[in-house]
Symmetry: C2
Subunit: 338 residues, 2 copies
């Protein structure tokens, strides 16, 4: 009745009256143990509820059967990705560990490098990095980057067609008759943000609508910064009639700001987001947005990683999935009445 400390392999050995080496052999079904001892040891293992320490195992054996998913934070995008990854990992025999330092990541770029150094070689056999900032390094382990900040490079990546998606989102607003369309852009240092902004300007130019730099404000993919940027956009004299936001979180923040200023969405202002996280559908009004197939991105990242870990040849190391428009209630034709 004092199971206060872990039961180790040594406890099992003592209880069974054998050496730790023998217990280890039984555990790993190694040759060289008599049937009777094996049975006895197994019963002791069950009795004590012994389970080998993952940590000690992985320090000794450099192969664990664990895949790590390294995220800066557990926000909607990364948790959706987890669902897809979890589905992909079923039946593969691998286990999944998600690691997050919980927001401490903002202290410095290169968090993924630190996490990876801390975990790779021991604990995990391979890793999926979610929106990493550094991808040009040669890590020791098998690694796949999802939505990397610098775009596809040497490292295997999975991302989606940000350029197309931004064109679709902007075109949707153009089709509804909007001409003063603002952009709530993402973090300027990230490839995805650049592409989304470029898709926006491309669509405007193709439609013959001049691009007004004053209508592009940085929201940094962040709710607070986006709220401020939205305030700047909506406060001016010549207010835009629509906002294309670089992600759903920014779009939702913009809607809140608009409501606070007495503007109704979509009657007075149309808003389009990007990502299609579940929260987009929960917003009021439900958000029209550009969908990234996040589940599939997680699934494909795991598939690709497992191929790499097994040393199998991979047909393509850069997987790009398509994006599409999801129309909900936050957009409306200009001038249309309720």
């Amino acid at each position: 009745m004092k199971p206060s400390s872990r039961v180790t392999i040594r406890d099992v050995a003592v209880a069974a009256g054998v050496s730790v080496a023998t217990v280890s052999k039984v555990l790993n079904a190694r040759y060289g143990v008599s049937a009777t001892t094996s049975a006895h040891v197994q019963s002791v293992i069950r009795e004590l509820g012994y389970e080998a320490s993952l940590v000690a195992q992985s320090l000794r054996n450099h192969r664990t059967n664990v895949i790590g998913i390294l995220v800066a934070d557990l926000e909607p995008f990364s948790t959706e990705l987890l669902k897809g990854a979890a589905k992909a990992i079923k039946g593969t025999g691998y286990e999944l560990v998600v690691y997050s330092a919980g927001g401490r990541s903002s202290d410095h770029a290169g968090w993924e490098q630190r996490y990876l150094s801390r975990l790779s070689g021991t604990l995990i056999d391979g890793a999926v990095l979610v929106t990493p900032t550094v991808v040009d390094v040669d890590y020791g382990t098998a690694v796949v980057a999802v939505d990397p900040h610098a775009g596809p490079s040497g490292m295997p990546t999975v991302d989606s067609d940000n350029l197309l998606g931004a064109r679709l989102g902007t075109q949707h607003l153009l089709d509804l008759g909007h001409r003063r369309i603002a952009m709530l852009s993402g973090r300027p240092d990230l490839e995805s943000a650049k592409l989304r902004e470029q898709g926006y300007t491309d669509a405007l130019r193709a439609a013959g609508v001049p691009v007004d730099p004053a209508l592009i404000q940085v929201g940094n993919y962040d709710p607070d910064a986006s709220a401020e940027a939205a305030r700047r956009l909506l406060d001016g004299p010549d207010r835009p009639t629509a906002i294309f936001a670089a992600n759903d979180i920014s779009a939702i923040a913009a809607i809140e700001v608009a409501n606070g200023m007495g503007l109704r969405v979509p009657e007075d202002l149309s808003v389009v987001g990007f990502d299609n996280v579940p929260e987009a559908a929960l917003a009021t009004p439900a958000l029209t947005t550009v969908e990234q197939p996040i589940h599939e991105m997680g699934h494909r990242a795991i598939d690709l990683l497992i191929q790499l870990m097994r040393g199998e040849p991979v047909e393509q190391t850069h997987v790009r999935l398509t994006t599409s428009l999801v129309v909900r209630q936050s957009t409306r034709a200009i001038g249309a009445n309720a």
Copy 2:
């Protein structure tokens, strides 16, 4: 140019021309290293990109600063819980590890026991168990159970008021005039499922509506089993006009079955779910459901766990949060036309 293997503390020591002990002292800011050596070692550390192995550290020091969240699978409920937990952990200095064996858990009950044995003592200082089946054991580590299968017992727990929630959901259907209300129940071995079923029967009895055992079918919290159960319910001659499902996944499965049979929701059949995961709002029609404050459950679980780990006195070891009804589009007054 051969960073194929991990850079260890030994590599740093050699490169800096000191012993591993000294490097360790520098890393941990221990007393007994001159300022000049310390600076030199630190520069070498930066240069090599060295980061201490979490595994080796935790094997040696039994205190890591890592909290584990152990889940059977990464489905909507547990991922929502993660978001709340992630918020709670910010600024506490703890890191977060989510562990899942990826569906392998179904092979045997007691997965939480195995996971915990595998990780506790090493790697994690404390754990949050999500819907564990066994809670009466005295684990060695600090542990908090969320939504435990057997209801609150000796172990600290966080759950929500399932009984009240089920009454609310059923009452909503009664208020809409429904009398033949079916129940798609959960896994019979789980406390939460029992309470939800009891809330359903309580509400019916209080309204003077007889409970028909044929209208209670086991959906097991599982989409496939729920689809079958829904088929049984809707196939009969005296079809129910409403279904109260034990969770959102079951409810969504039921809606799909109804659609497949040519029944429209909510015109021909009203459906109420339980949980209010984001997927509920994404369903068509958007699901009326009983909300559990899942984010807050995750937050409170982490708060409680950290208190326990720090040995602080806790006011209450069993936290129960309230549930509430969220009305969306999947329910309608009986006989009402579109």
